[in-house]
Every structure is written in C-alpha cells, then in structure tokens.
C-alpha cells in the first residue's frame, strides 16, 4: 500500500491534495511527469501529474479535481490509508531551458501541474510571468505557491470575483503585446489550451501544452492515449504528455475524452447515491 501522509481539501472540497509515500518514484520524479494510481482491487487506473516530490522524505504530491467516481473514491481516502497501486514516474519530463522571458498559463487543476514547471523555469534563470485563472475566487488554487514560483503573477476569474474579470487568454494577449516572450507553457482545461495556442500562434511564440487523454497503462502498450500532433498519431503517455500546442488537434482530443462519458456519469451518480444512503 502507498500510504497517504498528508491530505488537504482545496477550492471548497472540489480539489484534493494527497502527499503519498512512494520512495522509489520520489527519487526519480521530474517536473511534468505523472503517476498512475489505483485505489483498490476494483479500482480504475487513473493518471495524475505530480505537483511535487520530496526525495528525502520519499513522498510525492498529487492534486486532483473530483470529477467522477474514481476521483470521488480517492477523495474518501484518509491520512494513514492509501492507494493499492502507484506506478511511475511516467511520461517525459518537461524540457527546462533558459530562454529569457517565459509565460506560464494555468487553469483549474492545471495550475497544480504548472507549479513545479514554473518553479523549474525560474530556478534556471528565466524571467517568469504567470497567469492563472479559475471560474471564481473560491475555486482558485495555489495562488501563493505560484506567486513564489514566478516573478510576476496575474490572476483572472471568469465571474470577476477576484483579479482580472475574464479569461486568462485576455491577459496573455496583453503580455504578448508588451514583452518579448520566448515560450508559453499552458496547462489547464482543453478549451483553454486550445485558445492559448491560437493566440500564441498569431504572435509566433512557441507554446507547450500538457495533454490529458484517457489512459490505461501509461507505458505505451494500449494506444488509448493517442493524440494527433502535426498530423501524426502520438501516444501521450510515452511521447508526451507535453506537446507543441501549435500542432495539437484539440478538437479530436475533446471528442476522445468523451468516449465513456455516458457510462461514467451514470457510474458516478450511482456511487454518490450509494454514499448518501
């Protein structure tokens, strides 16, 4: 068993942080890599990016949004309990390079994935401007952490309850107009990454996105995670999860993410009903 040593609820309980004992993985983990977790015998294999890792302590941290049955089961796990299986580190680590000014754009739980990358980009000497957003103030996560990881931080909310009233893409446009940006890293909901990539294409700024297709093994054995990048099929779990945002077919990704949506919705509702009873 992989024991949970710390647990925190964020964004009104819709997002949960777990720090988990996994010494072998912690020793190897690099920013941008993910793990696959399975809660129990009947559980599904769920990919989640590591938001942090501590090789001395032998722990990794995941931050996830509760969106369906499996993440709801994860949420029910308490400190001292744990996951039956944790596999990793998987995927290619983020390629960190000193470039000059870089912009990190994050939305939703994507901010958790973005945070270690932002830290890494700053550590090797980039001037880091970050833009993070959420639907409203109470579900915004990791503002303080992103503040520390960046030279400048912009915050946006869709409903205007905090920071800039509007989407991250609006602030991004202003930044791109003013600064000589060498790279944009965008991680968040697929539509956000799609629109960020559209804007940066107009400005001709290289853009990296992190994709989250449905996965099974995470080691290149099933092809369930295939995405189209520049007209070629790639397996996100081994060729990614990070790709050139200007080449990704986001519409295809969105459709593929819906593959099991009806089953999943029913399964989640049944689970919630059962929990309440």
């Amino acid at each position: 068993m992989f024991k949970i040593v710390q647990r925190k609820e964020m964004a009104g309980g819709t997002i949960v942080l777990n720090e988990i004992e996994a010494p072998l993985i912690a020793k190897k983990a690099k920013p941008g890599q993910f793990v696959i977790l399975k809660a129990n015998e009947a559980g599904e294999r769920i990919p989640l990016t590591m938001a942090d890792s501590n090789p001395e302590k032998g722990t990794i941290t995941i931050i996830y949004m509760v969106v369906g049955k499996s993440t709801a089961i994860f949420k029910a796990l308490k400190v001292g309990e744990g996951y039956q299986d944790v596999i990793g580190p998987l995927g290619k680590p983020t390629h960190l390079e000193k470039l000059g000014t870089v912009v990190c754009v994050g939305g939703g739980t994507g901010i958790a994935v973005l945070n270690p990358i932002t830290k890494g980009l700053k550590e090797i000497g980039n001037n880091v401007i970050s833009i993070i957003g959420a639907r409203s103030k109470d579900i915004l996560i990791l503002e303080d952490e992103m503040q520390v990881a960046s030279h400048k931080l912009h915050v946006c909310t869709d409903d205007g309850s905090y920071g800039h009233h509007g989407f991250v893409t609006e602030v991004l446009k202003q930044v791109l107009e003013k600064e000589d940006v060498k790279l944009v890293v965008a991680i968040g909901p697929v539509p956000m990454m799609k629109f960020v990539s559209k804007i940066t294409k107009d400005f001709n700024v290289p853009t990296m996105v992190s994709l989250n297709p449905i996965m099974v093994d995470g080691t290149g054995m099933c092809g369930g995670c295939r995405v189209s990048v520049g007209g070629e099929t790639k397996f996100a779990c081994v060729d990614g999860p990070e790709f050139d945002g200007h080449k990704v077919d986001f519409d295809e990704l969105m459709r593929r993410l819906q593959a099991y949506s009806e089953d999943e919705k029913k399964c989640y509702n049944d689970y919630c009903t059962l929990q309440q009873a």
Partner: protein
C-alpha cells in the same frame, strides 16, 4: 499384442467436454470444462508409445510426451506431473494455449490416418489434477548461492527464468510494470480461454519457492537497468514482451470507437471491465463490432465482444481462411459462437458522425496473387470493389511491435531494425554484459511455449555465468 494395437486404432479421440456455444457466447467462464479421469485414461491408451516419437520433435521444449502419457495409463499422476515439469514449468497454461495442431499433435503418428492423440488435453488434465488434488509439495531447492538476479517482466518467459533459477539456489526478484503479474496470460488471453486463477496459482507457487515479485515497477522509468546492477544484482533477464500495438494508419483511425486489441483486452481481462459497473473501468460495448486481423488476438477480441453483448461480430481479414494464423480450436470456437468471417477484405478508411464517433468502415475486396516473402499468397485489391460496412466498434488486432520504453533508456543494448533485442538464440545473451533477453521482445510476437523455451535456455546460461563467468 496385435489385438491391442487394433483396439488402440479404433478408440476414437476423446472429445473435450465444452460449454454449449449458445450459452458460452454470453458468459466469461472457461469454454472447455476439462477431461474426466475416465476420458484421460481412455485417451492416454490411444498413444502407441513409439520408439522414435514424432510428437516430441514437434514440441519446442521437447516434453517427454510418451513418458508422461504412459504414467497416466498407470494412474501415476504425480509421476506424470513431475515428468512434464522437467521440461515445461507451466503445463496447465500450455495444455490450453499451445498450437498443438502444428506442434506435437501435428507430428503424432496416430494422426496420420485418424485423429492425433489429444496431447494438449492430457497435459491440461495432469496439470489441473495436480493443482486440485496434488500434495502441493515443493520441489527441492539447492542451497543458497548468494547470487542476485532480476527478472524484468512476469510473462511466461520471465516466470520460467525465475522458477528455474530460484530452484538452483539463487536469489530472484521479478519486476513487473503492471499491477498484476502474468504478462499476456493475464492482460491479453481472456478468462474463458485461460482462467486467471491458474496463472495466479503458478505465480503463488513461485513465491512459495522463494522468488520475490514486485509489481508497479516500470524498468526504464521507476528504475534503470544500470541501477539494478548498482543495487547489487549479478544478472538481469529481460522478458518484457512485444507490447506495442500496431494500427492500420488509415484515415479516421482516431475516431471514438476504434481501439487496439491491447487496450480492449487489457480493459476486459486485467481490469475486469466485463464486470463494469461492479469494477470501475469501463469498456465500450459495441452493437456491430468489427475485428481487424485473424490471429489469436483477433479471435480473443471477437469472442470477448460477443460475450459483452454485441448483436454482430465480424472478423475482417485480408487473406483467406487457410492463412488465418490463430489456433485451429479458437477459429472453430469463434465460428460456433456466431462470429462472421469477412475474408479477402481490407479496410480503407473509417467514417464517423459529427461527434467524432465511429459509424462505419469502407472496405475493399482482395484476391490472392503470387506468394510473398512469408510464403503466403499476397492479397491484391480488386479495383472498384469498395463497399461500406456499418459498425460502432472496431478492434484493431493486426500485430504488435517492440515497446521502446526500456530499450530507449539502455543505449548499450543492441537492437535489430524492428527494435527487438539482439540475443543469442542458444543462450539468450545480449550485447550488454550480465543481461539476457528472451520471449517476444527478442522474436517478435510468437507463442507461450517459445517464450518459455527461451527462458529455460537463458536460465541455464545465467546459471553457468554465475558459476563460471561470462
């Protein structure tokens, strides 16, 4: 004497009792239910005990077939299982999945005029008998040598190496990427053909012998090959299989509803998605299912789709029936279960609706031309023969390749042009000192028995190395 040979000739091959097709096509229980003791005795009596047995030559690992069959006729099941184990560490598996018709049974003398002795069925009987009634007594283990061996991958080849070396007194640890051991035997071959309980009992037996097993270890990611040596391992065996799914590379292949057989079967078998929603992993349920390919993987996929409730399941294959590479018994079973065969047919593109979901597949008719490099007649498209096939689920089972995950992170391991590891066919030695490889990662997708045979040779070579040096 002459009379005895005469009765032998007239005794018919004992049919394997099976679940009826109408019933089994909708359940996941094993199809053949197994011989009774009476069947086994009668079938064993059909063996002529040849002086120069052809069957043994047909067996890739040289099982002493007349020997174990003779022990059955004497009612000595303990003797029979010992005899089998001497050459084959997983007889319960091989009896079920070996392509006997082109191996042992294909060369059986009795088969020249009538039906061959049912060697596979007898092998299965002896192994099942041992599992259910045997003493469970452990074979002797030599005294500890203090040498440490890491076996990467827990498929049939890795399990064979582990079993052989642990018996020789070495300290063996098996590292498996998935959360469960068994390789293809667990994630690929379905429950109705090979109950998982059999594989797990084989693994438990190895653990009782003293082998250690660690799942969730992706070698190349969680730990590298060189780190294993740094940790003090004296030798490493790579039995990582050929797990990279191949696709058709035709338009529309990323529509929702097109899966590799690897994904489909992993969901069904390893994740037990046929029990969804009792378990959490879903699997697409097709009404009109098409399976591309005609090997064992294709048959397993088609029969799984039927069991999950499909209205129709069609196998689409570009060559003819004679070239279908699957075991004969599986083709026969598929046929009986109502799976349709569209032979000499190849897909050209997939079409979908506005939500990106698969609705159909365009196909082309083929005819057979001259033999190609594989010796099989080459399929040639018939001009203007395009037609549409309605389908909402396509399972692509057109072969597998070498997964580069491990080899990419081990640059000093020489590979061939397809990415498989170069290993000496006699010893399994690779170009990297202290590293052996065998099974599908060396030969490309092959068979359980060949993977086990390679494991046995490598285990001998590893033992020699640990005793005498490289």
């Amino acid at each position: 004497m002459a009379e005895k040979a005469e009765t032998k000739k007239t005794t018919p091959r004992q049919a394997m009792p099976e679940q009826k097709p109408e019933i089994r096509r909708r359940n996941f229980q094993e199809v053949p239910v197994g011989y009774t003791m009476e069947h086994a005795m009668t079938e064993a009596s059909r063996c002529l005990q040849c002086k120069k047995p052809g069957c043994v030559e047909g067996c890739p690992v040289g099982v002493d077939i007349p020997g174990f069959i003779n022990l059955i006729t004497k009612g000595d099941m303990t003797g029979a299982i010992r005899n089998l184990w001497a050459k084959n560490s997983l007889p319960a598996v091989c009896g079920r999945v070996c392509p006997q018709e082109i191996q042992c049974e294909g060369l059986c003398i009795v088969g020249k005029k009538g039906d061959a002795v049912a060697i596979g069925n007898l092998e299965r009987f002896v192994a099942d008998y041992e599992r259910m009634h045997g003493s469970g007594e452990l074979p002797p283990r030599e005294k500890p040598t203090g040498k440490k061996i890491a076996v990467v991958g827990s498929g049939p080849s890795g399990l064979t190496v582990a079993g052989d070396l642990v018996r020789k007194g070495h300290d063996v640890k098996v590292l498996e990427a998935f959360h469960k051991p068994g390789g293809v035997l667990v994630y690929g071959i379905p429950e109705f053909r090979l109950p998982k309980e059999i594989v797990f009992s084989e693994v438990a037996f190895l653990e009782r012998l003293g082998a250690k097993l660690e799942c969730n270890q992706v070698v190349g990611r969680t730990v590298s090959l060189d780190e294993l040596f740094e940790e003090g391992y004296d030798a490493v065996y790579l039995g990582v299989g050929a797990g990279l799914p191949k696709f058709m590379n035709i338009p529309g292949e990323n529509l929702v509803g097109i899966l590799s057989a690897n994904e489909y079967l992993t969901r069904a078998n390893l994740m037990k998605a046929y029990l969804y929603p009792e378990v959490d992993t879903p699997i697409p349920i097709g009404k009109n299912v098409v399976v591309l390919g005609a090997g064992n993987v294709a048959m397993d996929s088609a029969r799984t789709a039927m069991r999950l409730g499909a209205d129709s399941v069609r196998i689409v294959y570009r060559r003819s029936r004679d070239e279908m590479p699957a075991r004969k018994a599986e083709i026969h079973h598929a046929d009986e279960e109502g799976i349709e065969f569209f032979l000499l047919t190849a897909p050209t593109r997939f079409v979908g609706d506005d939500k990106g979901r698969l609705t159909g597949m365009e196909c082309l008719k083929m005819e057979l031309g001259e033999p190609d490099a594989s010796g099989r007649r080459r399929p040639i498209p018939v001009k203007g023969s395009e037609f549409m096939m309605d389908c909402d689920l396509v399972i692509v089972a057109v072969g597998a390749g070498a997964n580069p995950l491990l080899t990419q992170t081990t640059p000093d391991l020489a590979l061939n042009k397809w990415g498989y590891i170069n290993a000496d066919p006699e010893t399994g030695k690779t170009t990297k000192k202290g590293v052996w490889a065998g099974g599908d990662i060396v030969t490309g997708s092959a068979t359980v028995i060949l993977a086990m045979g390679a494991g046995r040779k490598a285990a001998d070579s590893i033992h020699n190395y640990l005793t005498w040096g490289w």
